[in-house]
């Protein structure tokens, strides 16, 4: 690909140190984000996708959280090692973030216009009045009717969809190069979801930023993402273009996820479910983390952890099934 790389994550590890032990919530993940591209990170609750997104901006509550290793390279700088004051200049400016809960993510006692203007004044050389004006423009940009009036209102006077638009306006107010959206539509009605996703897509095309979309909703991924990383128990288990992922899912977990989606053109008595539970983050098995739930698992899977390897389809997958070792094993059997 000739596109410019804007964000590269190498072997990122985020741990939580508690009395019960160390929880490796994010355990060595890698991905690359290009300019103008949307990368989806999918996985079930607790797989580490939100922790990944918070780690990128170093917003992990610490203690107990801690980035234990790896690099986050943004325009040649490693964010993991950046001093806090430099990091602050970056947050909300070059890299910004939208959160899952529009209902609680806005300060309840400040007018929304002021909350947007705050970000603008922090990062741009504008005075109070100019920033307030820009905040109103941003509200207009995200499609809020009568933005002058709305800017003076407080969050409780706005609906959930409107609040998420405000969050988007805030996140985009300084023309970021990377937007991290952590389940931006999960808390919203389906119709509002579609509007918000369309809005984000539109603004992305207009502003040319890279988007990392964290979600558990495979439908959302199919609609909006160019590439997908599937996370399971702190690891990326499959990394592919959206098309390839949906056409030829490789990892048994991905296959399970896709199989468990209800299909509109088939008459299904019962939905497919992946049996079993995610292993405890305090006590990860030595081998493949999905082995205990995987229909294909062998002793090899239970004993040794697979690496993320490149498949002939161009996808990357963390599964022994696609390795030379697997074939050797079959010969032995």
């Amino acid at each position: 690909m000739s596109k410019e790389v804007i964000l590269e994550v190498k072997n990122l590890q985020t741990h939580f140190i508690t009395k019960r032990g160390t929880s490796k919530a994010v355990d060595g993940i890698d991905f690359i984000l290009h300019k103008g591209e949307t990368l989806g990170i999918v996985g079930e609750s607790g797989c580490g996708k939100s922790i990944t997104s918070l780690s990128l901006l170093r917003l992990i509550p610490s203690p107990p959280g801690k980035i234990a290793g790896g690099e986050v390279l943004f325009k040649g700088r490693n964010l993991v090692e950046l001093p806090e004051s430099e990091m602050r200049k970056l947050r909300g400016n070059e890299i910004s973030m939208i959160f899952q809960e529009p209902m609680t993510s806005l300060n309840p006692v400040l007018p929304v216009g002021e909350q947007i203007a705050e970000a603008i004044r922090l990062h741009q050389n504008l005075n109070k009045k100019e920033a307030a004006k820009k905040a109103v423009e941003m509200l207009r940009l995200v499609g809020i009717p009568s933005p002058e009036k709305r800017a003076k209102q407080e969050p409780f006077q706005l609906s959930g969809g409107m609040r998420q638009r405000v969050m988007i306006a805030m996140a985009l107010s300084c023309n970021p190069e990377v937007l991290i959206a952590d389940e931006p539509t999960t808390a919203l009605d389906v119709t509002i979801q579609a509007q918000i996703l369309r809005l984000m897509k539109e603004l992305q095309e207009r502003l040319g930023m890279g988007v990392i979309l964290i979600t558990h909703d495979l439908g959302v991924v199919a609609e909006t993402c160019d590439k997908v990383a599937v996370m399971y128990a702190g690891n990326i288990v499959e990394h592919a273009t959206t098309e390839t992922l949906y056409e030829t899912p490789l990892h048994p977990y991905t296959q399970g996820l896709l199989a468990s989606l209800p299909k509109i053109d088939e008459d299904q008595e019962e939905l497919y479910t992946i049996e079993g539970n995610v292993p405890s983050a305090f006590n990860m098995p030595p081998g493949c983390r999905f082995a205990s739930r995987c229909p294909l698992a062998t002793n090899l899977c239970r004993e040794q952890k697979p690496e993320l390897i490149e498949h002939e389809s161009g996808s990357k997958v963390r599964c022994w099934v696609y390795s030379n070792k697997w074939r050797e094993q079959e010969v032995v059997m």
Partner: protein, 306 residues
């Protein structure tokens, strides 16, 4: 906002009527015939009867109450039995002193309490936090009459920084105001701390961090305003407790305020003065509550009156 204030003012009317009823009933609850009591020991039957006629005590209760309220509305609270001075006049010379004391104490409560609470909340479970919270616990536990005497002994008698008693200069205010405000400050400190710790975990604080807001601004702009909402209520309640506390503190420091007036009047069985004093103290409390509610609304526009 104006409607809010008007509505809230309307709500005080039944409260005030209730207060007058209670104060009026105090008079009725005193054992024995009020006329006998008012006339004093050794009064003749004629004197008592004359007094009863004069005070309208032969009338049915509701007429007496009506008279009492209409007198109040004309600013007539009766006369002191001790020196025959109008009660209102007595109260008017005493009230400003008590208000001054109460306001200074409240300032100490707010400023000291909030500062301590914020300092604690910024580094929870640190040594500083522990020290502040232990001191606050002491502040809540120490009875004010003992604490006042200790302050007086240390700073007036031993160190001779502040005057022992009286009410002439700003220096006179310090010890009583501190005695009265310390307990409240301790409660406000604990309240501010727990409220701050609660708020600091909220999603919108994370949003502010994600915007690149400095930690100091997050504390003072984003967290404190939200954390103060429950604290305002506590300060308002504290003010009520404070009015009661003036009774003790004014006695300790020999301050001629409203509290001491009421205590003296009770001792002398000077009922009209007791009645007037209690009424005024209650009205002050009602007004303070009104102010608290308006402040509350200013900080939190979600509050609606129904």
């Amino acid at each position: 906002m104006i409607w809010f204030i008007i509505k809230r003012l309307m709500q005080t009317i039944p409260v005030i009527i209730g207060v007058t009823i209670v104060v009026f009933v105090i008079m009725q609850l005193v054992p024995g015939d009020p006329a006998v009591l008012l006339a004093g020991e050794g009064a003749t039957k004629e004197t008592i009867e004359a007094l009863r006629q004069q005070l309208g005590l032969h009338q049915p209760l509701y007429i007496q109450y009506f008279d009492y309220v209409s007198n109040l509305l004309r600013g007539d609270m009766g006369f002191s039995l001790k020196n025959n001075q109008p009660v209102l006049q007595e109260i008017m010379t005493r009230l400003p002193i008590t208000l001054e004391l109460a306001i200074f104490s409240t300032l100490i409560t707010i400023v000291l309490g909030m500062l301590a609470g914020i300092v604690s909340a910024i580094r929870p479970y640190s040594i500083l936090d522990t020290v502040v919270m232990v001191v606050a616990l002491l502040g809540i536990s120490l009875p004010s009459f003992w604490f006042g005497l200790m302050l007086m002994y240390s700073f007036s008698v031993k160190l001779q920084i502040f005057p022992v008693a009286g009410w002439d200069s700003m220096l006179h205010i310090v010890l009583p105001a501190f005695t009265l405000g310390a307990g409240g400050a301790a409660i406000v400190a604990r309240m501010t701390r727990s409220s701050m710790l609660e708020v600091i975990r909220q999603d919108y604080i994370r949003t502010a961090r994600a915007k690149g807001v400095k930690e100091r601004v997050i504390i003072y702009k984003h967290a404190l305003r939200n954390a103060l909402i429950p604290v305002i209520t506590v300060v308002g309640l504290q003010f009520g407790a404070l009015l009661g506390g003036t009774v003790l503190v004014e006695s300790i420091f020999a301050i001629n305020g409203l509290g001491r007036m009421i205590v003296d009047a009770i001792r002398m069985r000077d009922l009209p003065v007791v009645q007037g004093g209690v009424l005024v103290a209650s009205l002050v409390f009602v007004v303070v509550n009104l102010i608290v509610d308006i402040l509350y609304r200013l900080f939190n526009k979600r509050i609606e009156l129904n």
